[in-house]
Symmetry: C2
């Protein structure tokens, strides 16, 4: 624990058990190490993700053997896709005990391996510090990863631990001048070009540079679908996001001869569909990586902009905010309320799925804010991301915009929000359905329709309806129901103004 603290870890999101007892005890021997209890491992892991993204520092999770780790894996998958630096600490039985296959025994390393990050397991107390240091180094090496250290209980309880020496963090690798020159030539060619920015390139420096490049060369600038931390709002350029649906993305990229990526991956279909390509780079177009994951995409864009557009300035959003809407909430009006009232320095958690299409436009004129999205496609990251973001930045208002289906995977995040009295305004977008799945039914023309006896109910959240107000109150969070724009506006303003967490159940129509 001291090794991790020396290396910059300040918070451990934990759901510990018997095998972690001595590590829990050790936390109290280390100054400045704060344990945050979660009631479900998926909350701990999602919170670590949110913390790492906002703090810009490694987060730690502490989970209980293979089964506890398994509960937390899904949001670690989301963390992995967000390139968040997370040290995943998993307690295990001693090796001599595992041979007896007691009930909680399992192959923990196999679960760690599923995350494609570093997996270590010290065999004794003497090795724990070294392995902790190596795990932390792996976690923070650009672009960031989930690195797992499996700690046998006897390595915890025996004497002889040696504090490890965390390696100094490495900066992201610079892009070579050759690559920048080659991409500049592509952009000068005059051929239709799309520039897709993502990862570290969707913050101020990268956004402004991309805007200048687009203005000077005519390149179509697009944002990746999901960003781990997007800077957004007034005084920043905004770009269209790639679509979730591949037929839309195909339209977005139609006619281009070159696709340049900076901090983003080549565009691929989120899901496969019959007769739809997986790779969405148009046929015949060339693909060029300005900056791969782990490279300094923002700096590369700035260099490219200075080369191509020395005299062009970025096209920024002027602070036009939506007019306050009225009447029953619509898919558009709820976003206008948020856009009109978003406070200074907010952090938006966007797990709106099918209900948030109008959000980027509605918030483009709001005061500058960060937007954290769930990057791995696995639902249930929103409420935990809010926990982590609020722990990392207690002085900033966190606005968690979470679709009703998503909120159900990790609902107990609300308890941790209440316990830690985090400044989070949770807005549950309540359309009583897995709206995205209803949309997918329409997409699959060869599928049966939604009137079928099994299929239709499996996308339905209306029978019975879920009362998110009562659920929030059950966890100690003040909550209210909004069905009109006026109600949402009043409740949102109040929630932002009062300290601690709040929840608003915003009833909206489903996509059709």
């Amino acid at each position: 624990m001291r090794t991790l603290a020396d290396g910059g870890v300040e918070v451990v999101f934990a759901n510990a058990g018997t095998t972690e007892m001595h590590m829990v005890g050790a936390m109290d021997a280390v100054p400045n190490l704060r344990g945050v209890l979660t009631l479900f491992e998926g909350v701990a892991t999602g919170a670590a993700d949110g913390y790492a993204r906002i703090a810009g520092k490694p987060a730690a999770t502490m989970l209980h053997l293979g089964p506890g780790f398994a509960y937390g894996l899904t949001n670690l998958h989301n963390s992995r896709r967000a390139n968040s630096p997370v040290v995943s600490i998993v307690g295990d039985h001693p090796t001599y005990h595992n041979v007896y296959d007691s009930p909680l025994t399992s192959d923990i390393a196999a679960l760690g391996g599923w995350l494609r990050g570093s997996v270590r397991r010290p065999e004794n107390a003497a090795g724990t510090g070294t392995d902790a240091a190596a795990t932390l180094a792996a976690a923070v090496e650009p672009p960031g990863q989930v690195a797992t250290v499996i700690v046998p209980a006897d390595a915890s309880w025996n004497d002889g631990g040696v504090v490890g020496t965390p390696a100094a963090g490495k900066p992201p690798q610079p892009v070579t001048q050759d690559v920048i020159a080659r991409i500049a030539d592509v952009l000068r060619s005059g051929e239709p070009t799309a520039l897709i920015i993502g990862g570290p390139a969707v913050r101020e420096a990268g956004l402004c540079a991309a805007s200048r490049i687009g203005a000077a060369t005519g390149a179509r600038v697009l944002q990746e679908l999901y960003s781990n931390r997007l800077e957004h709002g007034a005084d920043l350029p905004t770009f269209p996001r790639l679509s979730f649906f591949p037929d839309q993305t195909i339209k977005q990229l139609a006619g281009v001869k070159h696709v340049i990526t900076a901090g983003a991956k080549e565009p691929v279909a989120f899901f496969a569909y019959p007769d739809v390509p997986s790779c969405l780079v148009p046929e015949g177009a060339q693909s060029h990586a300005l900056a791969e994951t782990g490279q300094d995409a923002a700096a590369a864009l700035v260099q490219l902009a200075d080369l191509l557009a020395p005299d062009t300035s970025a096209d920024v959003d002027t602070p036009q905010r939506p007019t306050m809407p009225s009447g029953p909430l619509t898919l558009k009006s709820w976003t206008e309320v948020v856009g009109a009232l978003l406070p200074e320095r907010a952090i938006i958690i966007d797990e709106t799925v099918s209900s948030g299409t109008a959000l980027p436009a509605a918030t483009a004129g709001a005061p500058r804010h960060d937007v954290l999205m769930q990057c791995g496609g696995a639902m249930g990251d929103g409420l935990p991301l809010a926990v982590g973001a609020a722990v990392a930045a207690p002085d900033r208002p966190v606005v968690a915009l979470v679709a009703d289906g998503c909120a159900m995977y990790t609902l107990t995040a609300l308890w941790t929000q209440a316990r830690e009295q985090l400044n989070i305004t949770n807005v549950i977008l309540n359309n009583h359905a897995y709206g995205i799945l209803r949309a997918e039914w329409g997409y699959f023309t060869r599928s049966p329709g939604p009137g079928d006896p099994n299929a239709n109910p499996l996308f339905d959240l209306a029978h019975p309806t879920i009362d998110y107000v009562k659920l929030a109150q059950g966890f100690g969070i003040p909550a209210s129901l909004a069905t009109t724009a006026e109600e949402l506006a009043e409740q949102f303003s109040r929630a932002i103004a009062e300290p601690g967490p709040h929840l608003i159940q915003a009833v909206i129509p489903t996509v059709t």
Copy 2:
């Protein structure tokens, strides 16, 4: 889907997504296949476990790619340890799509492998029926396992599927006469012997045979700690359970020269502790397996009893029920209320952890009932087990006794209980703590005490307190708070008498 239905699968506990769309659609083409929606995969998998145990039939789950499977893994671990036959269906991208590493892509087979069961992945539509049949056969082969079939979306949506032929179920392997004769000799030796029964041997036939053996030979009969389906109550013999704490188990087995297991594994410590052995067979004692997992332990016990105790009858509990207690609930009195009021043909789900020590004695005189325990040691199985048991036996009252910490992992099981209007009386044992972890603090004498700034809060559920009544109401379940035995009795009786689910928050003291 037709292959599975032909092989006896009737219910699919599902949280499906885009990659499972065509399988969801296919369910509607197959008569008698019922989809049950859960809002979190851990509920689906725990429900499948409960269903399989009570129905004595294979259950199926349908989950969404690796991240959905990951959310469900923990309760599949519990299922694996319970030897429940579960067909785990996981949708995947087509193979041609996975090479593009879109956000939800992962190594699903690695997760399936973690469960140590069969893992198959048909490559095309033509192979799905065969793989479904093989997966089902693996799931139901005694003793039962979690068998996974990963179905690429194009294997679902392409034409050319061929219905597979499910193999006929195999009976458990009989124990040979040689083994029975050898164990009979041990029992006739007059040396102190413990007979540990578990798995299929803790139902009527095995319990009665074990009782006769104990009475005739003086062997000390003990039950394994966690049983997948224990028959209990009036007119059945009851035996002490092995302890969770190894020092207690060591006392239970002190002095024996032979340990005979029947359907149970050799006793091992649940957790390791400094200076405590992992294997709890006393030093110098011999260990003998009458029946290994997958063998017909109950039949072997009956044969053994007929050999050793032809004229001895089983020592059954007479229907003595507890006197109704009064006053504030205690760790004993809550169990007496349940024991006094348990209806005919009940199914008890026992996830009471540190709060249920008095339960077996209090229910020994109640009408005969089944008790399902969580066998893998991973918390959060209770509420989902109740869902599955109630779906399997809609005409039987299900009583879910769940510790407050456990309820938080899979809380949304309550919504599925409400949606399906299942006859479940949920009693949340609310001691505002991870009581078992407080107990473990005391066990580790080398650990720091509970006054520490991080350690103590990490076992505490009182700040803020959780209002389970509001939570249940939020999911559409009538709920009430009981702080006295009188209140619990009145509310329990009413909940049992009314159809559909109910929840009682029973406030009890924590173990100290």
